[in-house]
Symmetry: D2
Amino acid sequence: MLKKAFEEVMNRKLVLSINCPDQTGLVSSVSEFIYKAPATIVEASHHTDLEERRFFMRHEIELLDQNKSVADVRSEFQSLADKFDMEWKLTDRSEKKKLVLLATSQSHCLVDILHRWKQGELDCDIPCIIANHPEMQEYADWFNVPFHFIDFKQADADPFAEIDQLIEKYQADVVGLARFMRIFPGHLCAKYAGKIINIHHSFLPSFAGAKPYHKAYQKGVKLIGATCHYVTEDLDEGPIIEQDVLRINHSDTIGDMIRKGKECEKAAFARGLRYHLEDRIAVFNNKTIVFS
Amino acid sequence: MLKKAFEEVMNRKLVLSINCPDQTGLVSSVSEFIYKAPATIVEASHHTDLEERRFFMRHEIELLDQNKSVADVRSEFQSLADKFDMEWKLTDRSEKKKLVLLATSQSHCLVDILHRWKQGELDCDIPCIIANHPEMQEYADWFNVPFHFIDFKQADADPFAEIDQLIEKYQADVVGLARFMRIFPGHLCAKYAGKIINIHHSFLPSFAGAKPYHKAYQKGVKLIGATCHYVTEDLDEGPIIEQDVLRINHSDTIGDMIRKGKECEKAAFARGLRYHLEDRIAVFNNKTIVFS
Amino acid sequence: MLKKAFEEVMNRKLVLSINCPDQTGLVSSVSEFIYKAPATIVEASHHTDLEERRFFMRHEIELLDQNKSVADVRSEFQSLADKFDMEWKLTDRSEKKKLVLLATSQSHCLVDILHRWKQGELDCDIPCIIANHPEMQEYADWFNVPFHFIDFKQADADPFAEIDQLIEKYQADVVGLARFMRIFPGHLCAKYAGKIINIHHSFLPSFAGAKPYHKAYQKGVKLIGATCHYVTEDLDEGPIIEQDVLRINHSDTIGDMIRKGKECEKAAFARGLRYHLEDRIAVFNNKTIVFS
Amino acid sequence: MLKKAFEEVMNRKLVLSINCPDQTGLVSSVSEFIYKAPATIVEASHHTDLEERRFFMRHEIELLDQNKSVADVRSEFQSLADKFDMEWKLTDRSEKKKLVLLATSQSHCLVDILHRWKQGELDCDIPCIIANHPEMQEYADWFNVPFHFIDFKQADADPFAEIDQLIEKYQADVVGLARFMRIFPGHLCAKYAGKIINIHHSFLPSFAGAKPYHKAYQKGVKLIGATCHYVTEDLDEGPIIEQDVLRINHSDTIGDMIRKGKECEKAAFARGLRYHLEDRIAVFNNKTIVFS
């Protein structure tokens, strides 16, 4: 891989993601296309799903012809895409994705993401932060991000309708649930399929739903963890992007587990968001292929 | 802790395990008793269950009076045990526990345990190996351990009755299920409660039951693991002694997961058995306290 | 251990730390003293250094007599301390330690510690932040902590004299070097022995000194890490408190290693500071005993 | 990747390893060659060394033309290899490599490798085992592998000359030092460059040379590890293939560290050998690229 060069080069950087039936000639056809674009391959990753005979490919390329637009390359690629029956997309890394963050009362994941973003670790824009606890405003202000308080206690309001409007208003490409402890309604999960990323504070499929640390404590497990996954209509059942665990023992109280578990939550959430923002994730059969 | 000294000393080495309601004066009374035995504390561990206000204590001690027997110390301790309403036991480390191993067709855990035992890592006797696949005989022979083949295919036989008889015949203190893929009948789980240790090839409570690696593959988890636990009548629900995990990704086939997972199985099973053999485990409310 | 109870109780909470020659009767004498104080043991930890026959003990206790002061308990304990030739201290957990943080241009460890502190994870006061890069001021302001800029570029100034004055002015109990990339002069290392905690961005003793990630990249190691240690006059040779590692591979650039390594740095530094603030660390023969 | 299919297919399986200056058109030319061979790509991996602008490629391919020999493919590929100034090799997976194992008195790595081999985890032949302790004979006999005892104590003998002769006699493709505690003479390191794989019982570059666990104990590190590397004339300085670590604490004696460390040694050695046997390793600038 040429990551460093990738960050250095002056030319337009694109990511070509392909998902199609497995066939011979695929790799040579695609690499020939890139060569003739003309473009250089910065990073290439392949995977084949054996049961479904499905092929997945990700290329980070650098377009060498300054006069060509991304649209030009897209239209040139279409015939190849048709020939191999591809689902595909070509994204321009210079167009930053918009990440909207939602939080409740716990700030550790929110602040962790905001500080990574400020440090340049996460290549995106963060147009707004939404929370149902006003004290999150402070952190939004620190990072100069617009803040919206949603009152879930108000009887007549429809908080998720407000959230939906904000996601649309800010044209979010991805919604990050930074320990947002409310269940998204099914119609929004469907509307934003593949765009909502949650961090769940357990090693799924263990301890889905509420109070996973309490459940882990009752069960007496020797490791706890966190799971970053796409949100679907089935609670905590969406495609898993990343997981992390750490060791505990009988002397750890639920309080200790909650404190220690934050490390897994922050790490798994940040990696998961990063993979999504860099178009490193393909989803197939409710599972993820992550070209990390 | 004085582990090394513990192995060096000439005097009788004992392990005193206590489990009782939490009360003030416990530690000072017990340590005073040990002091006056006379004995020295080699390793001391405490734990309190906060919800049940229950206290757990383990002492490795070295008896300094050569003329005293373990029976003498036991009878002297009884009054203190009664005063504090203790469940307790005093074991003599020089009396090796008898470990009976059961296996099916997979040999990795069996051979791993046998070789650790031969190297002196596991302080026990292994009076026999039982398997329902004759090819395990070879490994038993290598280590000069009697082997018993149990034919589960024979229509009229009662294989678990044979196993029960063998466990009794060899006076097993603990039964290790080294990837023994048969479900123990309830009455044997009850009869040998706290004496049967299983290694399950998943990170419980995820993927209990059959074919956990296949389930993990279907689910698309990013970490797989193994769980060493006591066997109870509820399948894969017994008290967890030890767990281990390792990272996988989308490119790992089920075959890769089975191969890689063996590392977790061997490690967790060996540690779990070791803790049991050294009287390091207390079981309470279907959870373990492990004074590792 | 009774950590939770420890946080709940109303009574005065004390930590008794003992370091003395190993002798029989120690544990029983100390636990009897605690019992008669009167106090209850909340958490007890022991360790014996086998080569030096030295005994280490830490007790978290709850003083039951409201009319007794810590000074009273100290004076009562002195005779026992003398009898067993103890080095010891009795600290009152309600008296928060003062942690002064030093930083350079990298903010990840600084902000991580500040946010843990704000969340109540670290039981201390942070009276000031010192840095030789003015942009750190912003973070100090966020958390309402006084900030002092030290100009290392000024020809005639003596920056470490200023730092020394600030440490004294704010009566720091511990100084945390949050990726402070300047070498402390020997006389300050000696003056604040056991009080300065550094996070080094390598798995020591590998890659001591400058640019450890570059050295690790050149060496081609497959794991990178971080080390939290006390600062002594020998650069990166002080007693190790905590270490953490993570896996890398050939595709990781130095930039990737720097980014990923931050996770280890934050985790090891936060745990190391926490152990120190809770009086969980004993130092002996340039090594640490950590009663975590 | 198509690993499973790879094991299933009937056709000839080949591994094409390429190492050459980075140039545009490389990937498309090579993949076109494979396509026209005709062959299908089973697994493809790329890496570019940024500083040296050097490109590394590994393809597992399945040759579809039954009438073609590996020699045919090699000769066809030569012109492409010349054009791009490639160092390359094309190996036939059906030709098993010959692994000669050397041991001293410790058997854990030896038995671990032998049992993995017997289980089919390691795709190779093991023509002989060499040791300077006769008790290793027992394990060789168990696995029906010829055993050669080399007496290092004999005054007039030249043990490494005998070892050299045995390596030649058995036409070893790779020599595995399974905790073989003797230093290979420089001329043999040179003669068998890139063919001798050692497991060192520390996390290199920490604690190179003798008694690493004792050094780690003295240093007071909080993690210990093992390193699998190619042997060069510089002791413990050869290219690192794989490393593994585990957590310890102040209560671990040197004996505990030696016991626990065996887990890392076995795991890192087995993975390292596996990568070599499957032609997954490229060596460049004393570092390894491992296409695991």
